[in-house]
Symmetry: C2
Subunit: 170 residues, 2 copies
C-alpha cells in the first residue's frame, strides 16, 4: 500500500517553516489504518513481545492497536503528574528547555520483551527517553516502530543498535 | 474474566476524597487487555462500524485497538489547538468552567456508523460532547463503550437512547 498517499502535509504548523505530516487522513481510512498496523505488526511478530508502549497522546494510537494485534499488554507513557500511582520519571532535553515522561513504578517487569512505538521519529529525543525509561526496569527493548520517519533529521542515529522500522520516510 | 480484580484503586487522586480507578494494571496484563478489547468488540461487531473515536488521551487506548479489531478507521478527538488542519469544535460545561474538544472538519462523513469509546464514564460530559460533535457531521453513533462506569454518578442518563456498554461498574 502507498501509505504516503494517505498523509496530508500542512505547511507552517505548529510554527512557520514546519511542514507538518498529518496522519489523521490515514487513520480514518479503514483500509489504510488496518494495513498500517498489520505491516508494523508483521515486522515484529516473531519477537514474542510482552508489552507495547508509547508516549502520549499519538503514540497510544499505534501502541494500543499493536498490543492488541501482537497479544501483548500496553503501557502508557505519560507527561508528569497524570499517573495516579508511584512513578518513575525521566527528564530529557528539548531544543529549548526540557521535558519529562513518567510510567508507574510497576509498569514493566525485568526481562519483559518490549516494543516501543510512536507516530513520528523526528530528532528522536522523546523515543530515546522512552527507551531509557523501559530499560531502567531491566526490561528488553526488542524493537522501535514509527508511522513516519523524518529521515533528514537523522533521529535514527540516537537509536543505533535497535531493530527500528518506519512505515513512511521523508 | 473478573476485570474488576485487575483495577487498582488509588485514594485521594487527583484530589482529596476521590477514589481513582487505575486501569494501568489491567492494560499491562496481556490476557486482561486482550479480553477487555475482545469483550467490548463482540458487543458492537454486528453493527458494521466504520469509525471508532474517543477523546484524548486515554480514550485512544480503547478506540484504536477497537478500530483495528472491528476493521474500522480511527478518529482522534483532541483538546483545542492540537490538530493541524481546519477543525470543528464543541464546548461543554465542567463542574467549574468549561472545556472544548476538536476534530478535523473532514474527520467523519455523513452516514458513517461510529462507535464512541472512552476509558471512564463519570458524569458523561466529555462523551456527550464527543457524541454531539460526531452527530454534527450527520454521522450515526451506533454505540458508546467504556472500560469503567461509575454508575453512582449516573452519567448514563445523559446518553439515553444509545447502545451503551461498560465492562466494569462501580
Amino acid at each position: 500500500m502507498d501509505f504516503k498517499s494517505y498523509v496530508r502535509t500542512i505547511e507552517n504548523f505548529p510554527k512557520p517553516g514546519i511542514s507538518f505530516k498529518d496522519i489523521t487522513t490515514l487513520l480514518n481510512n479503514k483500509e489504510a489504518f488496518h494495513a498500517a498496523i498489520e505491516t508494523i505488526a508483521r515486522h515484529f511478530e516473531g519477537k514474542q513481545i510482552d508489552i507495547v508502549t508509547g508516549p502520549e497522546a499519538r503514540g497510544y494510537i499505534f501502541a494500543s492497536a499493536l498490543a492488541y494485534r501482537l497479544g501483548a499488554g500496553f503501557v502508557p507513557v505519560r507527561k508528569p503528574g497524570k499517573l495516579p500511582y508511584k512513578t518513575k520519571r525521566i527528564s530529557y532535553a528539548l531544543e529549548y528547555g526540557e521535558d519529562a515522561l513518567e510510567v508507574h513504578e510497576d509498569a514493566f517487569l525485568a526481562g519483559q520483551r518490549v516494543l516501543v512505538v510512536d507516530d513520528l521519529l523526528a530528532t528522536g529525543g522523546t523515543i530515546r527517553a522512552t527507551i531509557d525509561l523501559v530499560e531502567s526496569f531491566d526490561a528488553k527493548v526488542e524493537g522501535v516502530g514509527f508511522m513516519i520517519e523524518l529521515a533528514f533529521l537523522n533521529g535514527r542515529k540516537r537509536l543505533d543498535g535497535y531493530d527500528l522500522m518506519s512505515l513512511i520516510q521523508y
